[in-house]
Amino acid sequence: MAATDIARQVGEGCRTVPLAGHVGFDSLPDQLVNKSVSQGFCFNILCVGETGLGKSTLMDTLFNTKFEGEPATHTQPGVQLRSNTYDLQESNVGLKLTIVSTVGFGDQINKEDSYKPIVEFIDAQFEAYLQEELKIRRVLHTYHDSRIHACLYFIAPTGHSLKSLDLVTMKKLDSKVNIIPIIAKSDAISKSELTKFKIKITSELVSNGVQIYQFPTDDESVAEINGTMNAHLPFAVIGSTEELKIGNKMMKARQYPWGTVQVENEAHCDFVKLREMLIRVNMDDLREQTHSRHYELYRRCKLEEMGFKDTDPDSKPFSLQETYEAKRNEFLGELQKKEEEMRQMFVQRVKEKEAELKEAEKELHEKFDRLKKLHQDEKKKLEDKKKSLDDEVNAFKQRKTAAELLQSQGSQAGGSQTLKRDKEKKNFF
């Protein structure tokens, strides 16, 4: 077989070659985009916040549609997550949107474990993806990605600072998901209070080491806008699905006796900024971060937990598959051993039972024999008795006939016989 000799001339990291004419691969981004459009996009948002902070309303406002669902009560025994998937279509782009919402968050008296269902849910989505990726026959390109891409954390508009529940939850979530904190129902806070509130929140987050999602500033086209938006975090938003006539346009707004709050007015609230950042500018980056940072971290931890390593202490490069294979063989070996053991036990038991049964059988036989013998003995005895009785009867008959004969002879012979008869009688007796 011809030996393979692969010579790679890369030449100090690929040289750039000038083109002498139009080749045509500038249509590559378009090809890529067309492919993605035909596949469709998916986006998953998790809304974490106390009951009554306006999570569902905000989602309705963000996506300009009425998602179904009834408002939750305050009497939930524990935190649950409710998830809904919707198919949105805008011109030729199809988006599969999944909105997950916490139900009953912050309603319990003891809130120590409130964050746990949320963390478990996020981990479950990562786990599902990991399982699919590790399968032998997998269909990753048509897999419905359910990992959470963005987590909107709703902060109650107290105006003072973050609640301890918020801090604890955000700390637990920051390494698993992109957190975007927002101040909900911000029409309850005045402008001056709002700035103070925002500063307080950001300083608290920093001092507690909570890493919230920063909009990326490495690409020039979006660096500027992202940079300014980063300074406005957390966004103070208002949600409303009611439309009111203001001026001569219909706008989403909330009406109070003292005035009307317009949702899309940048002076009133940061809703427009949130929509820009979340959907129009950074949707893809959010998905990218989820996949390359959070998911990879989860994957690494999970695999290390299962016992896989990239390098062995003897500095022999191991691979995932080899360790997996070794573990599998080990497991199979154990399984076989257990099977053997069980088989042995079974065989043993069977033997014992068999022996027992044999014993019983033998006993029965013996009993039967004994009884039979007994019966035979009895029968013999009876027969003997019968025989002796028969003999006696015969003897008696013989004597009876003899006696009768003698009597008849005696009556003929007269008296001479009487002596003889008497003698015989005597002899007889």
Binding site: A7, V17, V23, F25, L32, N34, R137, H144, I279, P317
Partner: protein, 358 residues
């Protein structure tokens, strides 16, 4: 505290759930801005494309590559009379970065000098298959690391252009053997090389015969019929399939024709213009490879051929632990992979096992 799920579980993999209700949006939201985001990201990252040219020496492979990418990607080497023909098949890879209108493409061209040049060409496809599988292996090793890179460098061969010598008759046994083996591992595009030695009628008959050969030997070249996704694809691809294999001519010199400077070959009886559809089908090849189906080639390599390789590889390690076919799963040095390659592709395991037995 199980999450209350109202939509189908994420663990099930299906293309799109029929139960998710479509929602109507009352106003413009801006979802389609995600397309721009994708474009920006793609332009920033750049693209990669790996092409392999296979064929006997003298069929104009290097010239073809230069013509395709309109640059001196490959210095066509005209062998001196003194140098002996290579005894072994050596694969040569060259990587370049070319840029057009802000789109950066990292192009890797792998040449196979010495293919089919020996007297005994038995198993000359093995080094090539070995190389292709080695690239898959490299990618697989990177993918199953615990700490893996954000962007795994893609060296897998996306397209293999097979040069058929213009005999005018039909496919030779070497061609058939090679194509059969390779079309299961990589996207193969056969072309009729040096098509200027055939007239138009001869070309057509040659093409028909080749298509017939391909069909009778169940060789599925790119675009594969079984991978068409919807009717649009099918219509588009069947038009291409009708013209496969393309009759191409390569040229890297420019000549003056009717006052215009065109790429062509100058002969005593005329100038063969490369970009003229009446002269040869080079524009079709270029359009297929670069302008319309480049992304599709990469996708099929990633979703179909690489997955097939991965399935075989992972299954193998279960079926044959420490047996005669045991492949050490730790990263192997290049060149050592000549032996178990033939068993890599599942369907050809049987016939290759027969070969190995000899």
């Amino acid at each position: 505290m199980d999450p209350l799920r109202q939509s189908p579980s994420p663990g099930s993999s299906r293309p799109s759930s029929p139960r998710t209700p479509p929602c109507e949006m009352f106003d413009y939201v801006g979802i389609e801005a995600v397309l721009d985001q994708l474009k920006i990201k793609a332009m920033k990252m750049g693209f990669e494309f790996n092409i392999m040219v296979v064929g006997q020496s003298g069929l104009g492979k290097s010239t073809m590559v230069n013509t395709l990418f309109k640059s001196k990607v490959w210095k066509s080497n005209i062998p001196n009379l003194g140098t002996p023909t290579p005894q072994t098949l050596k694969l040569h890879s060259v990587t370049h970065i070319i840029e057009e209108k802000g789109v950066k493409l990292k192009l890797t061209v792998t040449d196979t000098p010495g293919f089919g040049d020996q007297i005994n060409n038995d198993k000359c496809w093995d080094p090539i298959l070995g190389y292709i599988n080695e690239q898959y292996e490299r990618y697989l090793q990177e993918e199953i690391l615990i700490t893996r890179q954000r962007h795994i460098p893609d060296t897998r061969v996306h397209c293999c252009v097979y040069f058929v010598p213009p005999t005018g008759h039909c496919l030779r046994p070497l061609d058939i053997e090679f194509l059969q083996r390779l079309c299961r591992a990589v996207n193969v595009v056969p072309v009729i090389a040096r098509a200027d030695s055939l007239t138009i009628e001869e070309r057509e008959t040659f093409r028909q015969r080749i298509q017939h050969n391909l069909r009778s030997h169940c060789i599925e070249v790119y675009p594969q019929k079984s991978l068409d996704e919807d009717t649009n694809d099918r219509i588009l691809n069947s038009k291409i399939r009708d013209r496969i294999p393309f009759a191409v001519v390569g040229a890297d010199r420019e000549h003056l024709v009717n006052g215009k400077c065109v790429l062509g070959r100058k002969t005593k009886w005329g100038i063969i213009e490369v970009e003229n559809m009446a002269h040869c089908e080079f524009p079709l090849l270029r359009d297929l490879l670069i302008r319309s189906h480049l992304q599709d080639l990469k996708d099929i390599t990633h979703n179909v051929h690489y997955e097939n390789y991965r399935v075989c590889r992972l299954n193998e390690s279960h079926l044959l632990p420490q047996g005669p076919g045991w492949v050490n799963l730790a990263p192997t040095p290049a060149g050592r992979l000549a032996t178990p390659q033939s068993s890599k592709v599942c369907q050809q395991a049987q016939d290759d096992a027969k070969d190995e037995a000899y």
